[in-house]
Symmetry: C2
Subunit: 395 residues, 2 copies
């Protein structure tokens, strides 16, 4: 009875659910402390205390009709949008106004809104493997076609030559995700400049507009002083999709924003379309209480040192076992080379030690596995001897 | 640059925004108290005190990682889903379990999720005029075709004979909205039984499954003891889309649910598809704090007496002026016959008296206008002399 498009996705989803249930099953048999679940990107650092305080104050001080009511614009509260714009201007030297900000139901909501606003059936969206698998579904929602650039498994930077060859007159958008899920790699300024130059040239060649969509839920999660270039400054047709899921540890609350700068082609139309898309996709507006919370917590950040300690412990521990992986500069994932070609076999082997990890083929990059280290430090400490045993099967 | 599908919608949306801005402009000139804005369905009764209390307790008592984290299932917290199911069972004698409930980003989010789950391109969705105009966009989002049954302007009950003739082998769903926006009419049990019998017969005739989607944001807003039948009991292939927007005055928070009962065809698949649709449309899950709030406030209701007083005052006042309209049994709208055939002309005339109302053509029912009486009582009292002047132009 269900829609044709949904059938394979429901089957896939059942596989993920099966994995989750397997984790629960193992926890029941061996105890939760003896199951090492590195499969989920759910932040485990609590939201800053300021979030709690903001909620309390808003509930006590604000008129509930205004606090919980529809916003006048589907793009969100005017004052919240202005606060976000001012903060970006201060941090990145942009010249944004409130009107350039669309408050969204997280970055996933924002990506759907912008793709709905842009795509005609058959339009192509380019993504660089490895990439977050949902990009394929988001693109397909609007009858677009996802075009993949193969991974550079030496550096996990984008393969720019292949990229250039894959841009066609049907290319409507390019999605980049830096810091990257699943690799933790940050694209350097030099890379961004080259990527922008290629897109500029292709726009001229084809007489088209190609949008660079920057999916940035991990912007704030960087280590060792890594810099994440702000992409609107390098390419006019840039749209940023941001989320507070990781920076304020609010993933379940579904709060983020889109940036649509004046420099983007037909910016006013695009903002109008994003406003309508927000409404007709059923979001209507980003949750109102959380809009006000993030505005009050605009300068707050999650405790990055927690993830950094995990990163060091897991990265060093795995290397000592003989596993190969690039040291991530951002996000909270390690992308580890599978010691056997079929990484699903490796994931199955890991499960024998109660270690749960995600195959790279979920990110269009088979032969690798993703470990999310947004877990308790003890989970890493206790898992390392198990990884050692697992490594002995291969090295 | 924007998607073809969006172009006319952006133009329409600009017209609505223009109306809103006109309201602001008039307020600046004449003072907000001298502008009578009946255009918006934004509840103006505050959320019950229990909502405030629930937020405070949750923030103080719950682990923020769990409170603001992703839910294990995209359908929402297991305990919240069970609480909703138990409450429905108690109120309506249904036999639902937690698994039959999908927590959604309001009813608009729920309708998008279920249409995404069901529709193949070209599938038909039937709606009874007058209907909420967004149904057309929701259907078009998934390449479905909205088929309209013309309004019965005597009773505003569904025209069942015409309905029967419009069901085809391509009919995948029928949307009903009772209590109705824009008329306030409640469909009687007798009507629902006839409608169900027609759909049963057509399912048999065509060998298809046709889903009855009940959009129920106004279920709790009924007057004079009117009964709103619970549709899952009359027809197996029923899906309910509910919202707390009106019942708890939380429209901006985007919290509601879908009911997909076991009796629905391929119920497990449909629940699986709704889970995936929630994720890939970018909702990911209904906002987590608000999920827990509504579970704690499951027996709370908004103060209906406020709307009831408004209903009586506006209905009686308009009738005294000579306007014709059915007395609504539910929701917070009056649907008034325009004294001239072109109701947009009437809306323009009303604006001369600083009265803002919505043309019925927005609800596929020209010749009528919608007045939302979720306004301050004083707005009605002060508007009535203006309506009297307006009436003099016609009667």
């Amino acid at each position: 009875m269900i829609a044709e498009k949904m059938k394979s996705m429901v089957a896939n989803s059942s596989a993920i659910r099966a994995m989750f249930e397997e984790g629960n099953r193992l926890a029941k048999i061996y105890g939760a402390e003896n199951v090492f679940d590195f499969s989920l990107g759910n932040p485990n650092v609590p939201a800053p205390e300021a979030v709690k305080q903001a909620v309390r104050e808003l509930i006590d001080e604000e008129d509930p009709i205004a606090l919980h009511g529809y916003t006048n614009s589907n793009c969100g509260y005017a004052d919240v949008r202005e606060t976000v714009a001012a903060s970006l201007n201060e941090r990145f030297g942009t010249k944004l106004e409130g009107k350039n900000i669309v408050m969204t139901v997280g970055a996933a909501g924002g990506l759907n809104v912008i793709l709905k606003s842009l795509l005609n059936p058959g339009d192509e969206v380019i993504a660089f493997a490895p990439y977050f698998g949902e990009y394929r579904a988001y693109t397909s929602n609007y009858d677009g076609v996802l075009v993949e650039v193969s991974p550079d498994t030496d550096t996990f930077q984008p393969k720019l030559e292949e990229f250039e060859g894959k841009i066609t007159p049907k290319t409507k958008a390019v999605i980049v995700n830096t810091p990257n899920n699943p690799t933790g790699v940050v694209y350097s300024e030099a890379t961004i400049k080259k990527l922008a130059a290629i897109m500029e040239a292709k726009q001229k060649e084809y007489g088209t507009e190609i949008f660079l969509i920057s999916d940035e839920p991990y912007r704030e999660l960087v280590y060792d002083g890594a810099e994440v270039p702000y992409l609107t400054k390098y390419y006019n047709n840039t749209v940023v999709a941001y989320s507070y899921s990781k920076s304020l540890s609010l993933p379940g609350e579904r709060i983020g924003y889109l940036v649509i700068p004046d420099e983007a082609a037909d910016s006013a139309d695009l903002l109008g379309a994003a406003n309508v898309a927000t409404r007709i996709l059923g979001f209507v507006n980003a949750p109102t209480l959380q809009q006000k919370v993030v505005a009050r917590c605009i300068d707050e950040k999650t405790d990055i040192s927690y993830y950094d300690r995990n990163r060091e412990a897991l990265y060093n521990g795995l290397r000592e076992c003989g596993f190969v992986c690039a040291k991530p500069e951002g996000a909270f994932y390690l992308f580890v080379k599978s010691p056997v070609a079929d990484e699903k076999e490796f994931c199955a082997a890991a499960k024998k030690y109660n270690i749960l990890i995600v195959p790279g083929s979920s990110f269009a990059c088979p032969g690798y596995v993703r470990l999310a280290y947004c877990v308790a430090y003890e989970t890493i400490v206790n898992a390392l001897p198990k990884f050692k045993e697992l490594a002995k099967e291969y090295f």
